[in-house]
Symmetry: C2
Subunit: 212 residues, 2 copies
Amino acid sequence: MPEVPDQTNAPARGGRRPATTRQEIEHVAFGLFEDRGFELTTVDDIAAAAGIGRRTFFRYFPSKNDVPWGDFHGELDRMRARFAGCPAELPVMDALRAVVAGFNRIDQAEERWHRRRMTLILTVPALQAHATLRYADWRRVVAEFVAARLALPVDDLLPQALAHAALGVAVAAYERWLATPGAGLSALMEDALAALASGFQVRGPATTRTRG
Amino acid sequence: MPEVPDQTNAPARGGRRPATTRQEIEHVAFGLFEDRGFELTTVDDIAAAAGIGRRTFFRYFPSKNDVPWGDFHGELDRMRARFAGCPAELPVMDALRAVVAGFNRIDQAEERWHRRRMTLILTVPALQAHATLRYADWRRVVAEFVAARLALPVDDLLPQALAHAALGVAVAAYERWLATPGAGLSALMEDALAALASGFQVRGPATTRTRG
DNA sequence: AAGGTAATGGCACCGAGTGCCGTTTGACAG
DNA sequence: CTGTCAAACGGCACTCGGTGCCATTACCTT
């Protein structure tokens, strides 16, 4: 007794076929968000524009706030895999920087799209708030890696603090990226993580690197 | 034409007197939250229990989610003052640790109350999410201090990253505090901020300090 | 007593989200 | 071709948070 339209490419043993996809609804929704803004776009609007019933919308997305998140769960799996692929000799902070920066490397084609996504998430208050719940999963991935490396419990202060801090600087990098039209996300991300790894022991006003 | 009941102790030039206070509603609400849980307590319940109209509740609190936050705005002013009171010779990270740890020092009498507050904020999903909006103000206070000290724009990567990171480790400390019955918040907070200042350059599994 | 002002609280309304349930659409078996 | 089962659809009704509007109440001042 499935509750949710089949998002996998599984053969589907029987039953009616999904009328649309998450991605399709997402696209439609983004169009509306940019016209009227997120708050002024109702779920009815989205459903109507996507040609589905309001009730069906909620089978594809648990909430309106989840629309901009795409397949975040799947992306976290990718990040977990990156951590798993790190050589054991690589120091924790180096691995962290490599993985997080690599994870957030986006190719030219999707950059524009990703900017729109992140602009929404980081500027609309309701989405800023909602993001916290998603970030928790991100942090968990980091904390698990750190804890494993340091042979500590996941919920120990150190892995948790580091996960929280890493998330923080990553978000700061994103915000900076959105604020500066020409900036490269990876570079900002590396700068932010480098600052974190150095304990923010900056030596003066002109210490912030700025790279291509 | 005031929209909000007078929370100051101002003489009140005329007009009807407020029927209650934020604090009073807060107390009543906390009682209900602990009985039925946050989600299962409706605003009507709170209003009824407080002996006010539902509409009036929303004049005291912008939302149900704001109930556990008390006078956070005022507390941030106190934190700002602490930063301002830091001697200029004190290195940024030292000042940060001193201020944040000091800011979160709570006296014995209020500890129990504060725990309830934070348990709600850090465990109820809706409140976890909502907290982000409050944290933004907290971060701003930190970022402004750091930016001033380093002679950088507030929205530069470095102050923002540090503010985000500091918030992160502070939250981690709080979570740890809630998880460990006997723990002292200040000690955890200092440990977390020390780890941050050291760039998490831990030397092995047994590095986490545990103090009084 | 009169007038101004501020707080109250009822009412109607909107939008998000959920449970329920009948309907539609397909795949597969006979 | 037909019956059956499974899955997706979508309408309906309902709850709850939140807001705009506005008449009413209570207090202070003159």
